[in-house]
Amino acid sequence: MPTHASEPRLDRKTKTALIVFLIGVIASVAGLATWSAFSSTTSNSGNQFQTGSVTLTDNDSGTAMFNMTSARPGDTVSKCITVSYTGTLTSNVRLYGAATAGNGLDSYLDLKVTRGTFSGATPANMACTDGGGSSFVADSVTYSGGNGAGASGVMFNARMNLYPTTWTAGIVDAPGGTAEAWTNPESHVYRFEVTVANDNAAANKTHTQTFTWEAQDA
């Protein structure tokens, strides 16, 4: 017959003490649920949250700068568009665009983009001169980044098919090499000069282009 070890047993006094303790604990818990404590509140109201704004506009009034027809080698058209910033956040601006239609003429269009100001009032219809003394004046700053960027405010000077198409690849408005912090209010004039290349292969071609400025808070 196997032999079982004898288990320890609580004596009567110990059992009694344990029962009393458990009743006390239960009573304490039950008492808490039943009777609340004294309390008081304070608050902070009217907290407001508002985001900053990035607002960029131009003066094209919904009209395209260019409508070049039956162009020949050497033909040049120029327009000057004013881009204004009124956002509350300080922003950086980049230029890029998109070809929206055509059959390859952008490979034969020389595009030069120059930043500057007007010497007087802003001419109507995105013209670069009003014929009465106000004309485009290029900024005396130097741009870098390739595609013909250089002195006298020239940001781009290459064939139109090389114009960047995304923010990432965009032309940073960075006179002197440092991205300019646009603040409210700030405006700049951009002169676009387009010349048909002296290349017979440019004949009988078309192209449609969007030019975009994008501001992102810095």
């Binding site: 985001t51 900053g52 704004s53 990035v54 607002t55 960029l56 506009t57 131009d58 094209d60 395209a64 700068m65 260019f66 409508n67 070049m68 027809t69 039956s70 162009a71 020949r72 080698p73 050497g74 568009i81 881009v83 956002g87 956040l89 922003s91 929206t100 055509g102 003429l105 952008d106 034969y108 269009l109 923010w167 387009v194 048909v196 017979n200 440019a202 004949a203 009988n204 071609k205 078309t206 192209h207 449609t208 282009q209 969007t210 030019f211 975009t212 400025w213 994008e214 501001a215 992102q216 808070d217 810095a218």
Partner: protein
């Protein structure tokens, strides 16, 4: 246990930070764009030459489009014609005719003489040349600019061994010539456009030249100051070849060099305008001019005097007006008026009729002398027409009219035999 759990918590926290960082890169900035859309660019369906919008002032110009090679007097076509020189209707670079030189062991040439006062220090020529076959021996003269005093010249020739054109410059008859060759050989039966500027008003004398627009080596030689004398097409010395010349322009303005490729075309009368006192004019059949009288003066070649219009009643304000066919060309650099006349007097006279060309209200050309040459004829007269405002345009040329008459002295009676406009178009 706690010492084992803490590193795991730190790792998890770092991972959360890393994820948060990635989200921050994607959505960190507000942005807005402004754009200019719908910019359209379109080129012409084909590119011809770009019109320079210049007006050339020729001293002489012809494509032989009037169909005759005439000389004499310095007022008509060429100043003189020597040897076998013809208007060729079978070979033409443009239009319907060219000037053909066919010397055969002899001289054959036409020339124009430049004014000697004021002295001309330089001159420009633009013409096209075509050799029917390549000569077997050297040709010393295909074209020549000559100097007035010292025997100098600038001469276009041909070198048989290299089959190239040559430019020979002499600053005097005794000077050592400067000879240069064209960059490439030429071919038989092919038109080549030649631009030449000859300068001898100071030292060194130079002959700048181009072949089909390609600049060639300039011939240069030191010499004393001289002035221009003649431009000669063909050869003044014995030679054998067949050369055609077309689209000829001579200018005393050296700055017009190089004109580059161009063509000389013709416009003939195609109707009657608004004549004044028309009863003062008659056709060759003795009837008063009418709406078909232009057909009496539109012949090409303008070598006939069988039909004509004549002024029969004197009147300084009377004229018969002719209109011309229209051109479709748009880049017109020069206009030249050609007309032929004769009269029936064998004794000459002092009549004073006039032929004018009007561009709007501007008299672009007029000719008053030379209506008393005699009965032989018809005699060829010509001159440059200047537009009311430069440059000539398609509309201004298409609007010109010729007016014949104005004679207050019509004895001997003047006969207008033909009128042809030649105009030069940039190519």
């Amino acid at each position: 246990m706690l010492s084992r759990a803490l590193p795991r918590l730190a790792l998890a926290a770092a991972a959360l930070v890393a994820v948060g960082g990635g989200a921050s890169a994607t959505f960190s900035a507000f942005s807005q764009t402004a754009g200019n859309q719908g910019n359209t660019f379109a080129t012409a369906s084909s590119f011809g030459p770009t019109c320079s919008n210049t007006t050339v002032a020729p001293y002489y110009m012809t494509g032989a489009e009037h169909g005759r090679i005439s000389g004499g007097g310095g007022s008509g076509g060429w100043d003189a014609v020597t040897g076998t020189m013809t208007a060729d209707s079978t070979v033409a670079r443009s239009g319907s005719y060219s000037v053909k030189a066919a010397p055969s062991g002899a001289a054959a040439y036409v020339y124009r003489t430049f004014p000697v006062s004021p002295a001309e220090p330089d001159a420009m020529a633009r013409f096209a040349i075509r050799l029917a076959s390549l000569p077997g021996s050297n040709v010393s003269e295909l074209f020549k600019f000559s100097a007035f005093t010292n025997g100098g010249s600038a001469v276009l020739g041909y070198d048989a061994s290299s089959q190239k054109l040559t430019m020979t410059l002499k600053s005097s008859s005794a000077g050592t010539p400067s000879v240069v060759s064209s960059a490439t050989a030429i071919s038989a039966g092919t038109w080549y456009t030649i631009d030449v500027r000859y300068t001898n008003g100071s030292s060194p004398h130079t002959a700048e030249w181009r072949v089909d627009g390609v600049q060639q080596t300039t011939a240069s030689a030191t010499g004393t100051a001289d002035k221009l004398y003649q431009a000669v097409f063909g050869t003044t010395v014995s030679a054998t070849y067949t050369a055609n010349y077309d689209d000829v322009v001579l200018s005393l303005n050296g700055t017009e060099y190089p004109m580059g490729a161009g063509k000389v075309l013709a416009l003939a009368p195609d109707g009657m305008g608004t004549s004044v006192n028309p009863s003062s004019f008659q056709d060759d059949d003795g009837t008063v001019i009418d709406s078909t009288s232009w057909q009496r003066v539109d012949e090409i070649p303008m070598t006939s005097k069988l039909d004509y219009v004549t002024q029969v009643t004197a009147g300084g304000t009377s004229y018969a007006e002719l209109t011309f066919a229209n051109t479709t060309e748009t880049c017109i650099r020069a206009v030249w008026v050609n007309f032929t006349n004769h009269n029936v007097s064998t004794t000459g006279g002092s009549n004073n009729p006039k032929l004018s060309l009007f561009d709007g209200s501007t008299e672009a050309f007029s000719y008053t002398t030379g209506w008393t040459q005699g009965t032989a004829g018809p005699y060829h007269f010509s001159g440059r027409a200047s537009p009311a405002s430069t440059p000539w345009t398609q509309s201004s040329l298409n609007g010109v009219v010729a007016r014949f008459g104005y004679g207050t002295d019509i004895a001997p009676q003047p006969y207008l035999d033909a009128v042809v406009l030649e105009y030069e178009v940039q190519q």
